[in-house]
């Protein structure tokens, strides 16, 4: 069987799958929501939590931290991941500058500066937080205002050139609930070479946020501008996220439980410490 015949057979095999057709009005309604700076259809999934489920202010996306266990460091380039450390290092301003150039390109078609499907060029989004660990930085652009677009992106400087490992994409920020700790996004990502890493970010009133990783030492998140932000290589599960006040008191903990093997809702809980 030649390539052409095989391609035709593949096309035919998948021809059985059809998407639900929406009317233009229905699609227009969706865009209306977008224009009103509400969370997009997808962002709603990401931000679902206390805002939409009767006061239970737990973002289901907390479970995006529940990385599925493969190798401890994934297929990441050792030279990039090796200097990783559990405590953030001093932020490299050049990383933010480079990220503005490189991250949209990594997410868009043909290197277009604007991110496809998004209205705000990354240049117009302020740097909200930067989690630097050695030569690799996770950057979060946007603001904590309702309706702000958020973009996160991981970049690496190997001493000579810059590499973008990827971005978790974009979301529109809905109203931040009145909680000391609120996980907004993150998840397991993989670069083009198959290197894996996990990100997490969210809102916090705390001065310090600590993440407990399954089977590994706990790590400190970067806390900046009312947000916390962290990344780690591989796909290790996060067990919990704890927020501390300046005096060291625990003010909130989110416990992240691995769901059943068949998937399902996470057992995330957000509870002010007593």
């Amino acid at each position: 069987m030649n390539d052409e015949q095989l391609s035709t057979d593949i096309e035919r095999a998948f021809g059985r799958y059809r998407a639900r057709r929406l009317s233009t009005d229905s699609l227009g309604s969706a865009t209306g929501k977008l224009q009103a700076a509400q969370p997009s259809v997808v962002a709603r999934h990401r931000l679902v939590g206390g805002l939409s489920i009767g006061g239970v202010a737990v973002a289901l996306v907390a479970a995006s931290l529940l990385a599925l266990g493969l190798g401890p460091w994934g297929g990441a380039p050792a030279s990039a991941w090796a200097p990783w450390q559990p405590t953030p290092t001093k932020a490299d301003p050049a990383a933010a500058l480079k990220a503005r150039d490189l991250c949209p390109t990594s997410m868009s078609m043909g290197g277009d500066k604007p991110i496809p499907g998004w209205s705000t060029p990354i240049d117009n989004l302020p740097l909200l937080a930067q989690d630097q660990r050695g030569p690799v930085a996770l950057l979060l652009f946007g603001s904590t205002s309702q309706g702000s677009e958020l973009v996160d992106c991981l970049v690496w400087h190997d001493g000579e050139s810059w590499t973008v490992f990827g971005s978790g994409g974009q979301l529109v920020l809905d109203q931040i609930p009145d909680m000391p700790l609120w996980i907004m996004g993150g998840g397991q990502e993989a670069d083009a070479a198959g290197g894996r890493y996990v990100t997490i970010f969210g809102h916090t009133d705390a001065s310090r946020v600590v993440i407990a990783l399954a089977g590994r030492p706990q790590m400190e998140a970067t806390v900046q501008n009312g947000m916390f932000l962290a990344w780690w290589p591989g796909d290790t599960q996060a067990d919990s996220v704890t927020a501390y006040a300046q005096d060291g008191a625990v003010i909130a903990t989110e416990t992240l439980g691995m769901p059943g093997h068949g998937g399902g809702a996470p057992s995330a809980q957000a509870s002010p410490a007593s």
Binding site: I10, A19, T31, Q35
Partner: protein
Amino acid sequence: MWRRNVTEGGLDELTAAPSFEAFYLDSLDPVYRAVLLATRHPERAEDAVQEAFARALQRWNQVSGHESPRAWIIRVALNHDRSGWPIWQREATEPPEVAVEDELPIDPWLLRAVWRLPKRRRQVVALRILADLSAKQTAEAMGITAGAVGARLHRALGTLRAQLGPRN
């Protein structure tokens, strides 16, 4: 081209809307199939694709001028799929069962073999074959070179041929 009349209760006025509608009707299924194969998750694929088309409608005057609006849609859909779903929703290990009528018989082994291709090869098959993107458009969407697209497609088809060989 379309414009939204937001001063009159949000009533949409779509002028020349058929061009979007024609694009939607023509591209919806191929795009869905490509995103379905790339994500291996029917629900996620459906959501991401509808979201992407909604965004395209919102700015159709710009998107329609894109070299490949279909490639734009797929890129948006895949971006949003990555950002929007928690990872506990594992990918399906088997292609979804759907009721089909009046369909020519297909080889279920082929469907399953494609479904189980390694991710990057599967993505190339999704974009090049199911979405019918060019090598250049696929390369841009995946952030690799057109040459790499060709190589991965060649390997993917070779893998499939090797697996299906005894059956053909």
